[in-house]
Symmetry: D3
Subunit: 341 residues, 6 copies
Amino acid sequence: MVVTFGEIMMRLAPPGFQRLLQARSLELTFGGGEANVAVSLAHLGLDTQFVTCLPLNDLGRAARMDLRKYGVGTDFVQWGGDRLGLYFLETGAINRASTVLYDRAGSAMAEVRAGSFDWERIFEGATWFHWTGITPAISEKAASMCLEAVQAAHRLGIPISTDLNFRKNLWKWGKTAGEVMPDLVQYCDLVLANEEDAEKVFGIRPAHQDITSGHLEVAGYEDVCRQLQARFPKASRIAITLRGSLNANHNTWSGVLFDGKQLFQVPTYQLTHIVDRVGGGDSFMAGLIYGLVQGFDNQQALHFATAASSLKHTIHGDFNVVSVAEVETLMKGDGSGRVNR
Amino acid sequence: MVVTFGEIMMRLAPPGFQRLLQARSLELTFGGGEANVAVSLAHLGLDTQFVTCLPLNDLGRAARMDLRKYGVGTDFVQWGGDRLGLYFLETGAINRASTVLYDRAGSAMAEVRAGSFDWERIFEGATWFHWTGITPAISEKAASMCLEAVQAAHRLGIPISTDLNFRKNLWKWGKTAGEVMPDLVQYCDLVLANEEDAEKVFGIRPAHQDITSGHLEVAGYEDVCRQLQARFPKASRIAITLRGSLNANHNTWSGVLFDGKQLFQVPTYQLTHIVDRVGGGDSFMAGLIYGLVQGFDNQQALHFATAASSLKHTIHGDFNVVSVAEVETLMKGDGSGRVNR
Amino acid sequence: MVVTFGEIMMRLAPPGFQRLLQARSLELTFGGGEANVAVSLAHLGLDTQFVTCLPLNDLGRAARMDLRKYGVGTDFVQWGGDRLGLYFLETGAINRASTVLYDRAGSAMAEVRAGSFDWERIFEGATWFHWTGITPAISEKAASMCLEAVQAAHRLGIPISTDLNFRKNLWKWGKTAGEVMPDLVQYCDLVLANEEDAEKVFGIRPAHQDITSGHLEVAGYEDVCRQLQARFPKASRIAITLRGSLNANHNTWSGVLFDGKQLFQVPTYQLTHIVDRVGGGDSFMAGLIYGLVQGFDNQQALHFATAASSLKHTIHGDFNVVSVAEVETLMKGDGSGRVNR
Amino acid sequence: MVVTFGEIMMRLAPPGFQRLLQARSLELTFGGGEANVAVSLAHLGLDTQFVTCLPLNDLGRAARMDLRKYGVGTDFVQWGGDRLGLYFLETGAINRASTVLYDRAGSAMAEVRAGSFDWERIFEGATWFHWTGITPAISEKAASMCLEAVQAAHRLGIPISTDLNFRKNLWKWGKTAGEVMPDLVQYCDLVLANEEDAEKVFGIRPAHQDITSGHLEVAGYEDVCRQLQARFPKASRIAITLRGSLNANHNTWSGVLFDGKQLFQVPTYQLTHIVDRVGGGDSFMAGLIYGLVQGFDNQQALHFATAASSLKHTIHGDFNVVSVAEVETLMKGDGSGRVNR
Amino acid sequence: MVVTFGEIMMRLAPPGFQRLLQARSLELTFGGGEANVAVSLAHLGLDTQFVTCLPLNDLGRAARMDLRKYGVGTDFVQWGGDRLGLYFLETGAINRASTVLYDRAGSAMAEVRAGSFDWERIFEGATWFHWTGITPAISEKAASMCLEAVQAAHRLGIPISTDLNFRKNLWKWGKTAGEVMPDLVQYCDLVLANEEDAEKVFGIRPAHQDITSGHLEVAGYEDVCRQLQARFPKASRIAITLRGSLNANHNTWSGVLFDGKQLFQVPTYQLTHIVDRVGGGDSFMAGLIYGLVQGFDNQQALHFATAASSLKHTIHGDFNVVSVAEVETLMKGDGSGRVNR
Amino acid sequence: MVVTFGEIMMRLAPPGFQRLLQARSLELTFGGGEANVAVSLAHLGLDTQFVTCLPLNDLGRAARMDLRKYGVGTDFVQWGGDRLGLYFLETGAINRASTVLYDRAGSAMAEVRAGSFDWERIFEGATWFHWTGITPAISEKAASMCLEAVQAAHRLGIPISTDLNFRKNLWKWGKTAGEVMPDLVQYCDLVLANEEDAEKVFGIRPAHQDITSGHLEVAGYEDVCRQLQARFPKASRIAITLRGSLNANHNTWSGVLFDGKQLFQVPTYQLTHIVDRVGGGDSFMAGLIYGLVQGFDNQQALHFATAASSLKHTIHGDFNVVSVAEVETLMKGDGSGRVNR
């Protein structure tokens, strides 16, 4: 059983490419870095539990219903707090960027009460624990709870993964990511960063990369992995997602995985007509966890993660609603998009 | 020029009679007790200004755009704070009640900074000032600002109206409506209550009324008016809206106006197929202000207010998008709904 | 084969009860008094042809496609003119009336060229001809063409029906309905009026009727029928639809048919939750023609017409999409609305 | 744990009051007599399992996801068969009836393989078993499986409930309801019928009732209960839902419960503006089971069932998405539909 | 008059790029290989008749209405059978393939009764007959009827065209395409295949082609044509559509036509932002038939077919709603997509 | 204050890539060459007034509300005339062109009465005046009024800009653009043309350009600028927008500005996934006016105009709803479309 800890938000997005200033209706789905991983894992077939706080109102109930719909266990959801975190998403096009407007201050998860989770009980039967850098960002309480969780998992010998997930607009409670994250990351076995996170959180940067240019030198990221591992020796695996943003509709997508010795690579996908890129990194993380839990070797796991997350860009919403069979078809090389009938 | 002070919120409602737990999209409009009055007055043709705080993000900008669309002046809108107040509305049917789920804690208006409004300048040229009991309910800061505004208007000799607008889920900042409202209401020239407010705020109740029965004894409300006026002698006019809730689709609707001597009454409307009853009281208030500003006598003004607000129940959204001509047609007795062509 | 002559317009209506001032999308259907009769007849199973002018652009083409979809013959549609007539419909509720905003000036049909229809050929095989008072209202050219058509049908011995269909906003080309209609109506065998038309066009009124009161004295209309027949002796049958408008959602509905001797009546339908009343009279006319063409006696034909048009009020759009079987079920007395499964 | 056995279908319905002949999109939800009971029970908070066969394609998967969303256990869902049962629903208005067009022939559930369910294991921990007369109607195989289930539950001493749910368009596999149902009903402890079922299935009818008249004599149904109990002595409780169809929008709604001695009654609800009446009887059944499982006395249980199912008529879709608190509010007499805020 | 024989299905597709697992509504259109050809021909202006079986319910009626809307003759539609064939379409993006989920087993067309069509009468006045490989795939009865039709057309000297249209998920009634198709194809004058069909049905394959690579060697298909013609000597013309699938949004598109001597070719279209590719091959077939019926030479006809079907990829739905003028504009080389105004 | 004179129309467009022939609903927005400039300027923060005639009905009122929403002043709107101009827009894809179907004959603006505008008063405080070649095209009256306006602005020394905006389907009132425009353009200080206008209006063409080829030689346009300036010596600045239409979804976009001495250029944008290109030129014009009014130098102003209008292609509707900050981000080179969060 994979346990994921974090926040699930209501996502409110104008239809199509409408701007918020134009919208007369909003599409309502749910998402958030950690919830996205939990849903992806459940949809791929793994037993999962999502640990969070939800307000006892219809927004909180709706969030739980959506998790259950995708097969995510909600046995350890705590009810309490005043509001559900929200985010507004405006989908960009060409050279107009997508925009995420967070409205999550004061959420149930940000106001989580100390001691409200019984981690010993939660981790009974757990085989993996996942959290991300968003949770400690939202409030001091959430950061404390995150540390509790990570330490409990470490104590119980459960493999721990994290996604650095740096969000500059969230770290507002008094400490910086650079001050808080090291205490948490030190317990992790698998660390995922995107092409910006390592620099923004730890000041670790690859040489000669321009992330807005659309061209990324894959090999150059080996250095980032080595630096991260040097700083967090428990992290036996470091992964980096590599997104080249040609424009809002056309990205390149790949990833690397470093096991302390070797940098595993996969070919780069051309994502030429993106449907929804939010949750792309989360679907990579889920693919990687899935692969490792299933016993794939590093190359296979990376291949699976990259293919799964490549497909995510064709799916509307935060959640990666693709099956293992679909990922495997793409891994075998059929990305032709021919009609199945 | 009529100046209105208060909060405008984004209203998010599932389409039709869907429940929040079922919704996959939300209709986005704007509303709130005070904004509804301002829009109604502007749409009826009066010069208006809406004074409020809005966050400097696209939600705040969209709220201002919607005010401007309906012709409301936004010259004195302050930009600041972290978030726009939201409310979620689920529309009921038959014996299932509509539900308002407020998500307005920490809004720009709740966090309004002392001294941020220059009331002397705002009230230049003002001929009326309107506020409601919602604003002092949302936070201590907002209550203080409300007092500032009311005192300034009083000092400048501007007629003041208020709607008691009691909301039990809002008064959470430490004081009760009963503690705060008297200081504010004492300056008012016109006080509006619905069939519950006077009791909930001041403990003043009519004899022998069951507001859920669908049958209201109009005459019995004269006593409420007298009690209110006894307590707030500056209030030369007291008005009460009278809603009989047969069920969520079928209400009766009427109102009374008391001028210290006489209780003016109007026939009761049968609202048999309600489209949207939110903002009904606000549209009555706007109708009453419109009538009084236009120099109607008390009976005419009450008639106009009741007809205008009766029509509001046929309009989707918080705002009463009806014209003076439409109100006058109904006042003349044509409520047959025959097609105009 | 029933030949109908007139205009088909694009109907643009905000969804639900939205006002035009609020609309961000419009529902696109087609309609118009004469087209509604043609579609209704075709859907009931009669062979029909609709004679009209349409502009040779995609709006005109779309209008023709919609006619064909419902089985109406379009063999005699003329292509020409500059624009398709449009109308905007705002659906009212309770005491807010529905509003039709015509935008049909300069339409292909209003600019119909003299001699553009070969009536001899059109009427080959025709067993009935129908036109309405809308066509002569829209332009002098259309009025002339209408006269041509009526005279040709008369000459060829084809039974002719008309619906007076008075529209005060249309008669703007120089003559009044009272000046133009007598020349046309004199050739008709069946004349339909609603509770207002006879007065508005010919100054013929029933005694003691208030059409906005919701209560109509059926018997009082016998006098109107007699007066009409006295004026137009060829009209062996006069029918009147009787709508009592309690409010925009709740009407009563009935009709009478006079054959020169007897006034046939039917019970009144309570239309308590109207979906769309536009086209109600047209569906009555179609029901009556259907009944007479099928050889029903007067009582049966009136019964069929009233039942069919009662059902129309439950159908969205101008067109009465109901089957003969459905009309017959209602005629047999089952208006309970129980689920068929 | 309550176990329900039956079929879940995809429900495809044109929006609003559109006819199928007009539809350009269909609203997709899920439903079916037994699934409705399971969802209702889960939403009220009981532990439930839904036992069914689903095809291993995305329609079957979507059906399972919807059950999970509402908290229904799907541990015993069998994958197999070729297609998911569908039904098309056209919502009527006034005197136009709603229409259910079944497209469920050859569904996975109709083709259920003998022995595919391990009833001993399914009923471990079960405290109630529910099935309905729809399942034996769809195919001989389903009828056999139904008998297997009922006999197993009986053998294991689990209380059994059934809803006769007669559907004339379904009994097409060779035997009639009257031939098949007695063998199944004989094992049941609680039998629910609507005002037609007992007659259509067993020829048992109340005296002097006209179900299309909108007026039902409640007391007259005691006789039906006694006749049913005489025939099926194990059925210690007989319940009848009483629907008076004034028209498609306005029904009356009540129910009676007979315990062999006494006929319990409740006041009749006026359902004046129905949102969706499909699933009304199922929500009554669920309310009754809920009440009995919770230990309510007969009068309370009937009261709960009637209130819960009254609310169902305000909810879009087959499923009764209402909470225990909402039902209790209505039971306490507040059906005024006043806004909660 | 062109006669087409086959099935028309209801097509149900989630909006945009939604997955079936996410859908809450489905867009309802109609389609199917043979219906698509008939509609395309009618829309291009040819007189057509579509011969099929439809169930006598509202789904069948709606299908016929849609055919009529596009001008297709339905004089020979047979009413009967139990259900309308359906298909669910999920639109893919980038490397996620579109998926067609057929739900057509037991359709009216699959259950067609022997002798139910009077081919002599149907073919009176016919100048062309078209059928496709889908019809014999759906059932033995349909295959038999197909043979009847082809033999009748052959006997009457009517030119016959077919599209091999291999669908692996349909051939389930006992025989393979390879066993059934030769008897049918032997009577055909024009045979169309796509880049896969000839291999899948007859085992005829081009040398060195990878259809998922996005690069097709046009010239290599001459060999396929020659092999087909060798096997079916009556087929004086063989056409092949050539689709290169770079991904689900970006295809290349071309075609070849072989007349026994020469392979006619046209330049390849870059379809960079596909709206809907379903029905692409059918629109090619219709373009080819149109050209040949109009007397175009082979090169012109191929050019017309390829241009028409290129445009199809920009049209939502199965049907190619483009005009002859639009096809000709593209044939003249203007594919710039500049706004016409 | 920037004064713009022209027409605002209702724009009615099928959703997505639907054709008019397929549409069942139309998206309602507002637009038109001059209104687009006014809205763009107001949204960028400039004080603006839009001078026009609107009919006194709900379509006219809705148009004014939309202008106000975007902050455009409507102090000088004249009410009168019979109808609001409409246009229907069908959005093309790949090699199917978008189509604008004008339905604006007889609009309030086309029927503008002489002397209805008090230009002296309108231009009080004006710092810029803008009109376009569409206004004189729609009617002789509008052309006369345009001349009045231009002469008044010239007399008062207000800088004047124009966009040639040639529309071949509009010039139908008797004179050609070539006859009318010179009198108007002679007063202008800034003239904008697209790659076709100069030729269509004045017969001035660049050497060796194929505007449908997708490749434009920027430098070649210097000659067009020189010729225009030679003919209209008051025009100290000539600008040309350069659109290369690879297909309907993928354009290149750039512009040049000539100041009599130097041709300023900017790099070409690749607009690979266009959302809506209508209003592209207008947003360029607005950007240029904004830059010049703000005191940017020619190079900066051109850069701003090109970046702003490049972003327009990502915005749904005629109006360029982008902020100065967004334009500046793109000017700084970040067109990567990375998510802002």
